[in-house]
Symmetry: C2
C-alpha cells in the first residue's frame, strides 16, 4: 500500500516508552452481546487504567520525548481525554502541562485534568477555538503544542493497540474504530493494513459530527459548521488534511450512526457486558445495532476507547429504556 505518515518500527519502539499499565489491555469475546447483535463480538478494553481512555498510549510517547529533550512544559487542546492523559504522563516526568478545553466539555474530564495538577484554561465555543488558543499559548510561551491526530506520537501511540490486535489474529474479521480526529483510526488502521491486510478496518462516527466521514467519502477536507452529538470525544468539525490522507489509505469504510444508537450501545455494554463507557466508546456497538445484516456471522472487534462520563448524564442515558436525545453542542 501507499505509505502513511506512521512508521512501524517507531510504533514497536513506542511500546518501550509507554508505561506497561497502558499496554496489553484486555481483549476478550463477549458472548453476552452476541444474541442481540447476530455476530461474534470481542472487546478491546482501553478503560482499565488511571486515565480511563486509550489516550495515554500517545501522551506517554510525547512526554517521554519531551523529558529526553529536557523540555519542562507542554500544552494541548482537548475535549478532555487527551488532556487528562497528558496531565498524567507529564506529572510523572516533572513536565508542566497546560490543557485548553471548551467550557462545555464533560465536567468529569475537566475535574480529572485539574486533579492531576495540570493548568486548565477554558474557552467559549467548541473544540476548534480551544485548538486555536492552545496554539497561541505554545507560540507565546515557546513550548511544545501537542496536536491530537496531527502529531505523529498521538497516532503511533494509539497504533500500539493495532500491534496487540494483530497478535490475536486470525481470530477476527473486522475492527470497528471510533473516528474523531483520526489518531486511533489511522494508528490501528496502519498496523492492521501492514500486518493483517485481510482485516476490515471500519471507522464509526456520529451522524451529528460527520466531518471526517464526509471528508473520507469525498477524498477532500470537508468542514462542518456544527457538531451536535453526545459523543464529545469525537465531536470535531475541521479534519486535518494529513490525517485524512492517512485515513484514506487505511480505512475500508466509515459509517455514521444516530445518537439513539449510541445510547443503545452504551446501555447494552452496561447491561450485557458490565462496562461503563463514554458515548464515543459505544460507536462500534451502535454500528452493529444499525446494520445487523452487514456484520451477520462475522467476528468483530470493537475498541472500547474511554469511560469518562459525567455521572448524571450517564444515569440519564442508561437508566431507562428508550430516550437519549442528543445534547446540543455550542
Amino acid at each position: 500500500m501507499q505509505e502513511t505518515r506512521l512508521d512501524s518500527a517507531r510504533i514497536r519502539a513506542a511500546r518501550q516508552v509507554i508505561d506497561p499499565m497502558f499496554l496489553d489491555t484486555p481483549l476478550y469475546r463477549c458472548d453476552a452481546l452476541e444474541a442481540d447483535l447476530g455476530c461474534a463480538v470481542s472487546i478491546k478494553l482501553e478503560t482499565a487504567n488511571p486515565v480511563r481512555s486509550f489516550k495515554a498510549r500517545g501522551t506517554e510517547v510525547v512526554a517521554s520525548l519531551l523529558a529526553d529533550n529536557g523540555s519542562r512544559a507542554v500544552v494541548c487542546a482537548s475535549a478532555g481525554n487527551l488532556g487528562q492523559a497528558l496531565a498524567w504522563s507529564g506529572r510523572g516526568r516533572g513536565i508542566d502541562v497546560t490543557v485548553v478545553a471548551s467550557r462545555h466539555a464533560t465536567a468529569a474530564k475537566l475535574d480529572r485534568i485539574r486533579a492531576l495538577g495540570a493548568t486548565l484554561e477554558l474557552v467559549d465555543g467548541d473544540h476548534e477555538p480551544a485548538r486555536e488558543r492552545a496554539a497561541a499559548i505554545a507560540r507565546h510561551d515557546g513550548i511544545r503544542l501537542v496536536e491530537d491526530s496531527l502529531d505523529i506520537e498521538t497516532c503511533e501511540g494509539a497504533a500500539t493497540i493495532g500491534l496487540e490486535l494483530a497478535d490475536a489474529l486470525p481470530s477476527f474479521d473486522t475492527v470497528l474504530i471510533a473516528l474523531g480526529g483520526g489518531a486511533l483510526a489511522t494508528g490501528v488502521g496502519h498496523v492492521l493494513k501492514a500486518l493483517a491486510p485481510e482485516v476490515e478496518v471500519i471507522c464509526v462516527q456520529p451522524l451529528g459530527a460527520p466531518a471526517m466521514t464526509y471528508s473520507w467519502r469525498e477524498r477532500r477536507v470537508v468542514v462542518t459548521e456544527f457538531a451536535n452529538t453526545i459523543a464529545d470525544g469525537v465531536a470535531g468539525r475541521r479534519p486535518i488534511p494529513a490525517v485524512l490522507d492517512d485515513l484514506l489509505l487505511v480505512a475500508d469504510d466509515t459509517i455514521l450512526v444516530q445518537e439513539s444508537s449510541i445510547v443503545a450501545g452504551m446501555r447494552m455494554l452496561l447491561h450485557r457486558a458490565g462496562l461503563v463507557v463514554e458515548p464515543s466508546a459505544a460507536l462500534g456497538i451502535a454500528a452493529l445495532l444499525e446494520d445487523r445484516e452487514r456484520f451477520s456471522g462475522r467476528h468483530v472487534v470493537t475498541i472500547v476507547c474511554g469511560s469518562n462520563v459525567d455521572v448524571d448524564a450517564y444515569h440519564r442515558w442508561v437508566g431507562a429504556e428508550g430516550g437519549g436525545a442528543p445534547r446540543s453542542s455550542p
Copy 2:
C-alpha cells in the same frame, strides 16, 4: 511459615493451563478514589473477561485436568460465578457441566450459566443445600465434584492473582480480599506470604455473612444459621475446616463490613472509577470507608473480583444516594 495445602510450583504451573485471557489482568492506581479514602488505592481488575469474575482462573485448571484425564462431565454447586466459569471452561474442552444453584441466586448469573450450555439445577434454600445436591449428583453419576475453596485447583487458580501482585511489588502495603469460601483469600494470601511477607493480607466479609471471619477469629469452625447480605458471592454459612486452617496461616486480619458500606463502595467504584462491580467486589472499598484511620497513608490493593449483577438491583443500589437495605437471604 507453616505450610498451607497450596503449592507454589503448582501455582506457577497453573499459569500454563489457564487461557491467557484470564491472566495478567489490569492493575492500576486509581487516583480518583483517593481523595475520598485518604489512602493510595490500586485496583486489580478481574472482571474484563468472558465470565466477569476471577473464578475462571480456577476452573481452567480443573477443566484442563479433566480433559487430560479424558473425563467428560463435572458438577459443582455455585452462587453463580463458579458455575459460569466452569461452564465456560468446560464448553471449550467438550466437558458436560452441571451446576447446582439456589433458585434465589442472582438471575443474571443463572442466565449466563444456561447460555454457556451448562445444565442448571435449581434447589430451594441457600448455598448449603446446593452443595449437598451437587455432591449427590457426583456420587450418583460417578463424576467429578468441584468444591469451591476445598478443591485445591480453585485455590491455586485464584493464587495466580497473587503472582501478578507480587510482580508489582514493592508498590503497595496491603491487599484487601473478599472472603467467602476462602479460595481467593487463601490463594492470594499463600503467594504473598511466600513471596512478600511484608504485605498485609486482610480479608473482608459482610457482617451479614460472617461465618469464616468468626471461624478465623476463634480458630475453629463456626457455622452460622443465616446469611443475610447482598454480597451473594460470599454468602456461605459453613466454613470448610481445611480452608480455615490455610486461612489461619495466611491472613493477617479479617474485617466485617456493613451492607450500607458495600453499597457505598459499589457506588464509589461506579462514580469515581467507572467500574461496575458486584457487591462482593466492593468489600475492599467498604473496609476503607469504614476505617479511614487504619489505612491512612497506606497503599492498598483491592481485588475487584466480579461484576455479575442483576441490572435492576444494580440500578437500585447505585442509582440514588443513601438507600441500599440488605436483601434477606432465604
